[in-house]
Amino acid sequence: MGQIEWAMWANEQALASGLILITGGIVATAGRFTQWYFGAYSIVAGVFVCLLEYPRGKRKKGSTMERWGQKYMTAVVKLFGPFTRNYYVRAVLHLLLSVPAGFLLATILGTACLAIASGIYLLAAVRGEQWTPIEPKPRERPQIGGTIKQPPSNPPPRPPAEARKKPSEEEAAAAAGGPSGGPQVNPIPVTDEVV
């Protein structure tokens, strides 16, 4: 059990709680229950929680499955820096958000679920987990001609070693730069070791 990232489960739980808050809030406001304004609050809180929790954080080990279309919210959530990165902040935030919804029966389920999510986030924060955004991989520009390998620059038939040395000394003096056609200009002096 050592490698569990609790934040991932907390994220699922919080997302579910957001949806439950929204549903309970709609029921309370549409039905005009007593104190239905708590229902209206619950809808707003639910939407906020859903938006915050929609972008999944990156797992420490292994690949992470992104939720569909999450890159837009990732950009927004990233902007808040430490407030969204730190899970202690999220734990406290969710706990506070869940309290007002607890006054109405229709939304009390959302309160309970969000409070549980807050608890799991607290556990995640204690274990040092953090929210890291999933960055899109930079597309590797295909380098035109990058895979073309140059043909060998001194193909056989090669003249014997002695013949190679003399013209290279002359050419090194005369040439302006870069190898040209004809005998190879070796940047490192090549010595013939055959005795």
Binding site: M1, G2, Q3, I4, E5, M8, W9, E12, Q13, L15, A16, I20, T23, G24, V27, A28, G31, F33, T34, R56, R59, G62, M65, L105, A106, I108, L109, A112, C113, I116, T147
Partner: protein, 527 residues
Amino acid sequence: MGNWVVNHWFSVLFLVVWLGLNVFLFVDAFLKYEKADKYYYTRKILGFCSRTLRKQLDHNLTFHKLVAYMICLHTAIHIIAHLFNFDCYSRSRQATDGSLASILSSLSHDEKKGGSWLNPIQSRNTTVEYVTFTSIAGLTGVIMTIALILMVTSATEFIRRSYFEVFWYTHHLFIFYILGLGIHGIGGIVRGQTEESMNESHPRKCAESFEMWDDRDSHCRRPKFEGHPPESWKWILAPVILYICERILRFYRSQQKVVITKVVMHPSKVLELQMNKRGFSMEVGQYIFVNCPSISLLEWHPFTLTSAPEEDFFSIHIRAAGDWTENLIRAFEQQYSPIPRIEVDGPFGTASEDVFQYEVAVLVGAGIGVTPFASILKSIWYKFQCADHNLKTKKIYFYWICRETGAFSWFNNLLTSLEQEMEELGKVGFLNYRLFLTGWDSNIVGHAALNFDKATDIVTGLKQKTSFGRPMWDNEFSTIATSHPKSVVGVFLCGPRTLAKSLRKCCHRYSSLDPRKVQFYFNKENF
């Protein structure tokens, strides 16, 4: 389309009947509360109320998920409906206008007067929240719903695949769910008029004259109500008993001794365990659940059996793919400590038992999905050697698709030995296999091109050359269709869903409309 129906008619029929029953029960219960006279006053105080019913039948994973979604849907409907109900009850209690609703609400809870109340909210000051948390129905409802939500959030595919223990242990909250469900209706909050009271003062006669109920000379008396007896236990009793029996069976099976006859450490951290258990008999492609108490008391993990039924042991190959497997491999690697005890439950069957019924079999194993085919190939080979007449299979096309062969070098060895044995028997055409490496780069291809003329493949050492990339199924299927124009071909896959989709499509496309000509039937392993 025709092929799909032929392959799936039983599941479709089962689902249609089950959904039909669900709809019927829902409508039936709904109409009962909507129309029956017994609930006339209940309706008056509420509006209408709906009751949810759901059945629990565990058939396999897909059905289990379907049932779970139904439960969630019905739970939502149930909760929303009762929220409206409670609000109506509350308003009725608060009403002071002497309306029917307020008089009905004032029916007392006092047991001495018969306890024939209708409105569960007893006094003006009682809030719905108070009733929720002090009534059995409300409290169990809240506990059940929270358990359900926790189970669902920890069972999403992402969590299940990445952190299995979270899913496994949280899912055991179902115990609280079932217990809560059994006692949810005990309080009898949903009430209908008693028989006696109906005979005395039927709502059709008396509802209009509710102001005069207390008059001594009126024909009508105050109606009396009784709670509806709890019914949910009737639905869950049978499945709960079945489940308990299954757990007892698993416990009994796990207590039986498993003797480990051989332990082999293959390259790339693959552990092979060959075991024996009294009374154990298997078929090809089945799997077992394995528990190792010294690593984790409660975790049971499934592994496909890689041995053939003809062998005198059964074996599994375990690859390091998580906490439990890594710990297990490490425990077996210790040379000086005693071998850990293993408990086995199973075997459980899957579709590959049908392999021998097809004249031509196309087996596709992708990645780790190649394991059931180890068992199948070995078994086919044994049957072939003994000239077993039950073996209808005349030809096998085996496609092995994986990123790199490292973790499956043991399977490689199996193919090599099969190759050799077939050559010795002179039956080289029986098994056609092709290996596709999808994780190739230009280096590997370069080497392959250079060694083109060698008799054996440089990557695997097999006579059959490795191909790179993914197979082109259209080509494969059309070749098979032309070589076997009159046969029934069974296609078996153990691999990812996308591959299943393309194979299924090819099966439909290349099956001839004439039932006497070539027919492809698709079977997918479900892990």
